[in-house]
Symmetry: C2
C-alpha cells in the first residue's frame, strides 16, 4: 500500500498536477521504490475521491518523465533507476535522452540488416562511406535543395567531430586560421587547436565555422536576415564557410529556418545522427563541392580507413523506414517539455542579476550569473549535492567567462531537471551573496 499524496481541492494548482507532483516527489525521494506497482487509476481515484481521468492525466505526466512505465494489462510500475536521490543529475552532456531510444525498433532493424547484409557490412568498405547510406543521404539532400549532383559530393564521417578533424587536416594550410565565435564548443576549439582564432581581423583566416541553429553552448540561433547576410558575404570570397547543422531538426517551437547552404552559399554542410538518433553509433556526413569532398575522403582513408559499416547500415534503415522521423516527433515532444521545465525553473531559482538564453530547440542553454560570481566555484559545491554542469571556462578561448555555465537539458527527464535546478538554486544564491559583498556599493569617483 503506497502513501497517498495530499490533494487540495481549493488550490489553484490543478488536481492532476498536485497528484503528479506528489507521486513524483515520492519516487525521487525513494519512498516509492523501483519496480513497485502503482494502484490502477480506478482504485486510486476511488481512494482519493478524484475523477479517474484526473489520475490518468497524472500518470501520463509521470510516464512522460520516465518515472513510471505502463505495461498493457499489468498496470503502471515505478522506474526510479537513474532517478533516485543518490543518482548524479548531470547537466554536463549535450546528448539525447536514453529513455526515448526506440530499443525494440533498433533491435528489429539490426536483426534485419544482419540477415540481409552481414557479409557486406563485416567486410572492408569505402572511405566515402557505406554506399546505400551515401545514396540515401544524397537523394534526401537533393530533395531538400542542398545538393547539386553536378558539382557536389557527400562523405560519411564518424560523427560531426571527425568532419572537423578532417577539414583541419585536409583543407587548412599549416599557417592558416579558422575563425569561430566565443563561447565555443570545445570540440571545435580542440579539433582546430592552434589554427583556431576568435579574432575576426586575423588576415590568415581560411575558413569560418558557424552553427546557425541552436549553437552549442548558448543555444543561439541566427535569424533569417543574419543567414542571408552571411550567405551573401561568402560570395566571391575565398574563405570556406563550415556550417555545423546538427541541432536544427530539434526545433521545439518557432518556425524552421533555411540552412545557409540552401540560401546559395557553397558551405561545407556538416550533419550527424548523434543528436537526432544515437550518439553511440558514430555516423555523420559532410556535403560540399566535389574537390573538397575528395580531399576529405583521402584524409579519411589515412585517418581510419572508413567509418563503421554496421552502424551505417542500421541508421540507413532507421531513416529510410520512416522510423527516424517518428522518433524525431517523440524527441520534439519530449524536448519541448524539458526546455519548458528548464526555463520555468530557472526563472524561479536564479539569483537577481542573472540572465540566460531562451533557445527554441537543441540541447543547451547558457546562464550568466550576477557579476563577480564564479560558476566553477559553485560547481564544486554542486558536485557534493550530486549535480553537475560545465562552467564557462570550458567554452572560452580569450574571454574569461567565469560567470557563465552551460546547462544541457535534453538528456534529463523534466522531473530530474526540476530536482537538479532546485538543488542548484541555494548554491547560486550563496555565491551571489558572497560576490556582492566584494563589490564596492559606491560608484567610483571620476578620475580628474
Amino acid at each position: 500500500m503506497i502513501q497517498l499524496p495530499q490533494i487540495n481541492g481549493q488550490s489553484e494548482v490543478p488536481m492532476y498536477r498536485q497528484l503528479y507532483e506528489g507521486l513524483r516527489d515520492s519516487i525521487l525521494a525513494g519512498s516509492l521504490k523501483d519496480g513497485e506497482r502503482l494502484p490502477p487509476t480506478r482504485d486510486l481515484a476511488g481512494q482519493l475521491g478524484l475523477n479517474r481521468a484526473t489520475v490518468s492525466a497524472a500518470y501520463a505526466l509521470l510516464e512522460e518523465d520516465g518515472l513510471i512505465s505502463g505495461q498493457v494489462g499489468r498496470g503502471s510500475f515505478v522506474q526510479s533507476k537513474g532517478h533516485g536521490p543518490d543518482q548524479e543529475i548531470s547537466f554536463s552532456t549535450s546528448r539525447p535522452a536514453e529513455e526515448l531510444f526506440p530499443l525494440e525498433e533498433i533491435r528489429q532493424i539490426t536483426a534485419e540488416v544482419m540477415r540481409r547484409s552481414a557479409a557486406e557490412v563485416l567486410q572492408l568498405g569505402s572511405p566515402l562511406g557505406y554506399r546505400p547510406l551515401r545514396e540515401y543521404l544524397t537523394q534526401e539532400a537533393i530533395a531538400e535543395g542542398v545538393f547539386d549532383p553536378e558539382t557536389d559530393d557527400l562523405l560519411i564521417t564518424s560523427g560531426c567531430q571527425q568532419a572537423l578533424d578532417l577539414i583541419h587536416k585536409a583543407l587548412i594550410s599549416p599557417s592558416g586560421y579558422v575563425h569561430a565565435e566565443e563561447p565555443i564548443y570545445p570540440g571545435i576549439r580542440n579539433a582546430f587547436g592552434r589554427a583556431l582564432t576568435v579574432d575576426a581581423d586575423e588576415p590568415r583566416i581560411e575558413a569560418m565555422i558557424v552553427t546557425p541553429s541552436f549553437r552549442n553552448p548558448t543555444g543561439y540561433t541566427m535569424s533569417l536576415s543574419e543567414r542571408r547576410a552571411l550567405a551573401a558575404s561568402v560570395e566571391g570570397r575565398r574563405r570556406l564557410l563550415i556550417e555545423v547543422d546538427i541541432y536544427s531538426r530539434l526545433r521545439y517551437e518557432g518556425e524552421a529556418l533555411p540552412t545557409i547552404r540552401s540560401l546559395g552559399a557553397p558551405t561545407l554542410l556538416l550533419r550527424s545522427f548523434s543528436k537526432i538518433a544515437f550518439p553511440g553509433l558514430r555516423v555523420g556526413w559532410v556535403i560540399g563541392a566535389k574537390p573538397l569532398i575528395q580531399k576529405l575522403a583521402t584524409a579519411k582513408q589515412w585517418t581510419d580507413l572508413h567509418s563503421d559499416q554496421l552502424s551505417q547500415a542500421i541508421l540507413l534503415e532507421f531513416a529510410r523506414s520512416g522510423r527516424l522521423n517518428a522518433h524525431l516527433d517523440r524527441m520534439l515532444e519530449a524536448g519541448r517539455v524539458r526546455l519548458a521545465a528548464t526555463l520555468d525553473t530557472l526563472e524561479q531559482m536564479l539569483p537577481e542579476g542573472s540572465s540566460y538564453t531562451r533557445p527554441q530547440g537543441g540541447m543547451n542553454l547558457w546562464v550568466t550569473l550576477p557579476e563577480g560570481c564564479d560558476s566553477a566555484v559553485v560547481l564544486e559545491k554542486a558536485r557534493r549535492e550530486g549535480v553537475t554542469y560545465l562552467p564557462g571556462r570550458y567554452f572560452s578561448v580569450s574571454t574569461p567567462m567565469n560567470q557563465c555555465f552551460r546547462l544541457s537539458f535534453a538528456g534529463l527527464s523534466p522531473a530530474r531537471i526540476v530536482e537538479g535546478l532546485r538543488r542548484l538554486g541555494p548554491l547560486f544564491e550563496d555565491e551571489a551573496r558572497i560576490a556582492s559583498r566584494y563589490q564596492d556599493p559606491r560608484p567610483e569617483m571620476a578620475m580628474v
Copy 2:
C-alpha cells in the same frame, strides 16, 4: 545433366585431384552455373567408374575453395558468384576472406548484444573505449605478459589505422620524424605524412615503427634474435618504438615469436580485429605506458569522440565466447591452403630472374620481376584480363620499386588464386622478354 570431366587412370595426378580440377575449371568457365546441383557422390562415382571416396575428396576441395556448398540432405550446389570468368580477381587488398565469416554466429551475438545492452551501446560513450571490451582486452594482455597494471593502459581505436593517426597527432612534435623501412604500407606513410622518414640517420627521429610479424607489403618477419636486438636497443633511448602487431596471429606455419614488448621493451603495441575478424567493424587497440595512452585518449576525443560502441560490444562477445579463437582456427587452415596455392603457382608461372618472399603467415607477399620490368605497365594489361594487384611504387618513399608488386592472397579462394596467377603468367613473360631486349647484352667498355 552435367558434362563429366575426363579422368585418366594412368596419370600421376591422383584421380580425386583430376576430378576436382575438371569440375573447378567447369565452374570457373561458367559451364557449371551458379546454383546448379552436383550429382550425389554415389551417382557420380558410378558414372565415372570411381570409388565414392574419390568423389567425396574432390567435392571437399571444391567446398574448401568456396566453389560449391553442401546442404545437409539436399546435396552440393555450385557457388560461382564472385568466381565467374567475368569477375575481377583482386590481389590488391590485404583483407580476410569473406566466405569464412561466421555470419550465423555474428547474427546471434549481435541479437544478444542488442537484447542486453542496446541502450548503453546507443548512448554516448568514453574516448577510452567501451568499458567491458577494455577490461577484457586488458585482462588478456596481462595474462599474455604485455601489460603491467601499475604502469600501463589501453585505448580502443577505430582500427590500427587510427592508432597511427593519433600517435602522429599526440606524440610526435611538429619538427619530429618517425622512421620506417621501405617498402612501406601506404597507411603508415600517409598517417605520418611529412613526419615520415626512411633515413635512419635523420637526427630528429622521435619514433620508429616496426611490424615484426608478416609485415605489409613483404610478409617479412623478424627473427627472434632481431627482436631481442631491437628490444635491447630501445633501452635507455628516448625514441618511442611503435610495434604494429596486427598479423601475428595469422601464422600458418613455423613457430610463434614473442612481441618486442614482451621482450621487455616499452613499445606502443598496436592491435586490431580487422585482420583476424572483420574489417568492416572498425575496432583496434593500443597498449602502452599510462602517460602516452592518456595523451592518445585526449587526441581521440577531439578526433571522433569515441569508437563505435555496437561493434565494440559485438567483437567483445565474439572474443569472450571463444568464437574468435574457433574462427582463427578456420582462418589458419584456409590461409595455409591459400599461401601454398600462391607459392606453388608463382613457382610455375614467374619468368626466370624473378624472386618473391615466402612468408609463413599474414596476407601478403612481395614479388620482384626481372630487371627492367615495370609492374605498373603489366598492371594495365592485367586489368584487361580481370586481375589486379598493387605495384611497387605504392609502397615506395625514396627507392623506385618498379620491378616489384604486392600480392594479397588471403581474401581469395585457392581456385581464384590459381586462376588469377595463370592469367598473369603470360603478361609477366612478355614484360620480361621486352625488358631483356632493352638491356645491352655486351658489357660496357671501361671509360678511359
